[in-house]
C-alpha cells in the first residue's frame, strides 16, 4: 500500500443509490401501446408483439413496466435453441416472452398481446405432419427423430 490509504474517501448515500428503481417515464409510453394493442385484440383478434429490446429504457424503466403489469397465473417454458420463458401478466392477454440462449443470456424480450403466445402454439407445418407422426406411433414403429415423452 503506497500511501493510497491517505486519500480521503467519503461514502455518500444519495437518492440515486438507494436501490429504488428510478422512473424515466418510458414505461408509461409502452403501457399506452399495450392498451391500444389490447383494444385491437378484443375488437378484431389482431395480435401484437412489442420488442422491449428496441426501447430506449433508462435504468429502472423495465422494472417499472413489469411491476405495473404484475404476474398472472400461467408460466411456461419452451426448449428450442435455448430456453424461452413465457409469463402471463396480471392483465389477461398480455404476456412477457423472454427469449434466452443456451447460456441463459437474453436474446430479446417481447411483450405479446395475444390469446396464446405464438411460440406456444404448434407451428402449422408441424401440425400438418401431426397425423402421420401419430399414425407411425400407432403402427408401433417409433419415429427415429422424435424423443420419448419423458425427455
Amino acid at each position: 500500500m503506497s500511501g493510497s490509504d491517505q486519500i480521503p474517501v467519503s461514502i455518500e448515500s444519495s437518492a440515486s443509490c438507494s436501490g429504488k428503481p428510478r422512473d424515466y417515464g418510458n414505461a408509461r409510453a409502452v403501457l399506452g401501446q399495450i392498451r391500444h394493442a389490447l383494444e385491437r385484440l378484443i375488437a378484431s383478434g389482431e395480435e401484437t408483439r412489442i420488442d422491449l429490446n428496441a426501447m430506449p429504457f433508462g435504468p429502472g424503466d423495465l422494472e417499472h413496466l413489469t411491476n405495473c403489469l404484475g404476474t398472472g397465473e400461467v408460466q411456461a417454458s419452451v426448449e428450442a435453441l435455448g430456453p424461452t420463458r413465457i409469463q402471463e401478466t396480471a392483465i389477461p392477454g398480455v404476456w412477457l416472452v423472454d427469449y434466452l440462449n443456451a447460456e441463459n443470456q437474453r436474446l430479446t424480450l417481447h411483450i405479446e398481446i395475444a390469446n396464446v403466445p405464438q411460440i406456444l402454439c404448434p407451428q402449422p407445418q408441424d401440425l400438418a405432419l401431426a397425423i402421420d407422426r401419430l399414425d407411425a406411433r400407432l403402427d408401433g414403429t417409433p419415429a427415429p427423430n422424435t424423443p420419448p415423452l419423458s425427455s
Binding site: 430506449p56 440462449n101 436474446l107 405464438q118
Partner: protein, 369 residues
C-alpha cells in the same frame, strides 16, 4: 483453409438438417428481427426470406486498425444466434482469426475470390493509406493495403466497412493524418459500400447488417453516410432516456455534482449525443448491460466522421472548435488600431475642412437651386 463454394442448400434447409425445430426457427427469427432493429411484425418475412437464403462467402480485410472491431464482434453477447449466423456465412479469410498464415492464407483469399466471383462480401476494418501515400505505411504479406483492397473488391458483391476507421478514416486520419489515411468509401466508388461506424461498432449492429444481407440478399436502406438506417437512423439524443432532463433544462455541471448523481443530461459535460447517430441507446453494450450515457459519461460521437477532430470530448456541442479568447482579443486590438486610424483621418479631414471653409451667402445658394 480451403475456400468453399457457396453451397446449394438454403439456410432454412440447413437449419432443419441440424435439428432445429420450427419453434426454434421462430425464435431465431424473433432474435434476428431484434438484432436487425426491425419490428417483431417483420419476423414472418424474415422466416420466409431465411428459408431461401444462401450462404455467402466473406473475406475480412484488416488494415490500419486496432482489432477493437474484431474484439467487439467476437465478444458479441448472443452466441447461439450469432454462431448460427456465422455457421451460415463462410468466413474464408480473416488474418487475425484464421489458423492459416503466410502463403496459405493469401491463397485462401485468392481462392475464395475466384470461386465466388461477383458474389462474395468484403468486410474491411481499418483505414487505408491512400494511393498517393507511402505504400510502406501498412502492408500485409508484402502488399500495400491499397493494392489488397482494390484487388479484393474488384469482383465483390458489396463492401462492408466495419468501424469508424474503415468508414470515415477514424483515428489514423485524425490531423495531421501522417499516413494519408483514407476510408473505404473514398477509394471504392464502383461497388456498394455499407458503413458500420463506431469505435468499435456495437457487435449486434455488425451481425445485424450481416444478417440483413444474408436474410434478404440485398443491402439495407442507407443514410447519407452509407450507414444502415435501421441502426443509424436516429440520433443518440433522440433515443436517450435522459432526454427529458435536457428538455427540462436539468444538466449535470460536473461529473460528481448532484445533477450527475441524479442522472441528469450530460450536454454541458460535452455529450455529442445530439449530433451522433447510433443504436447504443437501445442495443446497449456488454450483453445489454449499459451504455456510455447510462454509465454517466457523455457520448463521444464515435460513429461520426472526423470525431477525433470534432472538438474536445468534454466541450459541449455548441462550443466552436479552435476559436480562442486570445484570437478574439487580438482581432479586437487590430480593430481598435484601425478605428483609431480612421478617427485620426476623419479628424484631420474635419480640421482641413474648417481651415478652407468659404462663407456662403443665401443668394449663392438660391442661385444653385
Amino acid at each position: 483453409m480451403a475456400a468453399r463454394e457457396t453451397p446449394d442448400k438454403t439456410l432454412g434447409e440447413s437449419l432443419r438438417d441440424i435439428g432445429l425445430s420450427r419453434r426454434g426457427f421462430l425464435k431465431f427469427c424473433a432474435a434476428t428481427a431484434s438484432m436487425m432493429a426491425l419490428p417483431p411484425s417483420m419476423a414472418p418475412a424474415i422466416a420466409a426470406a431465411l428459408e431461401q437464403a444462401r450462404r455467402p462467402s466473406v473475406i475480412w480485410l484488416s488494415f490500419q486498425e486496432c482489432t477493437g472491431c474484431t474484439e467487439s464482434l467476437t465478444r458479441s453477447h448472443s452466441p447461439s444466434v450469432e454462431e448460427l449466423i456465422f455457421d451460415f456465412i463462410s468466413l474464408d479469410y480473416h488474418h487475425t482469426l484464421q489458423a492459416a498464415a503466410g502463403e496459405a492464407a493469401e491463397a485462401a483469399r485468392l481462392q475464395a475470390m475466384e470461386a465466388n466471383r461477383g458474389e462474395y462480401l468484403v468486410i474491411v476494418d481499418g483505414s487505408i493509406p491512400g494511393p498517393d501515400a507511402n505504400p510502406g505505411f501498412s502492408t500485409v504479406a508484402g502488399h500495400s493495403n491499397y493494392d489488397i483492397l482494390m484487388e479484393t473488391v474488384e469482383h465483390a458483391a458489396a463492401v462492408i466497412a466495419v468501424g469508424t476507421c474503415a468508414a470515415f478514416g477514424g483515428l489514423p486520419q485524425a490531423k495531421p493524418n501522417p499516413t494519408g489515411a483514407m476510408s473505404v468509401m473514398d477509394l471504392v466508388k464502383d461497388k456498394p459500400v455499407i458503413n458500420v461506424s463506431g469505435c468499435p461498432p456495437i457487435p449486434m449492429v455488425i451481425t445485424g447488417v450481416l444478417a440483413h444481407y444474408l436474410t434478404f440478399g440485398r443491402l439495407p436502406e442507407l443514410d447519407a453516410y452509407h450507414r444502415p438506417m435501421a441502426f443509424y437512423g436516429q440520433s443518440i439524443h433522440d433515443r436517450c432516456y435522459r432526454r427529458p432532463f435536457y428538455d427540462k433544462g436539468l444538466f449535470a455541471d460536473s461529473f460528481d455534482d448532484e445533477g450527475a448523481k441524479l442522472g441528469w443530461c450530460l450536454y454541458r459535460l460535452g455529450c455529442k449525443g445530439p449530433t451522433t447517430f447510433n443504436a447504443c441507446a437501445t442495443m446497449r453494450w456488454n450483453a445489454g448491460t449499459s451504455w456510455p450515457i447510462e454509465s454517466g459519461h457523455p457520448c463521444l460521437g464515435c460513429s461520426e466522421p472526423s470525431f477525433w477532430d470534432g472538438g474536445g470530448f468534454y466541450e459541449p456541442v455548441s462550443v466552436p472548435i479552435g476559436t480562442s479568447t486570445t484570437t478574439l482579443l487580438e482581432a479586437a486590438a487590430v480593430g481598435a488600431v484601425a478605428g483609431a486610424g480612421i478617427a485620426t483621418v476623419a479628424r484631420k479631414g474635419k480640421k482641413d475642412a474648417v481651415k478652407t471653409r468659404q462663407p456662403v451667402t443665401i443668394e449663392e445658394l438660391e442661385q444653385k437651386l
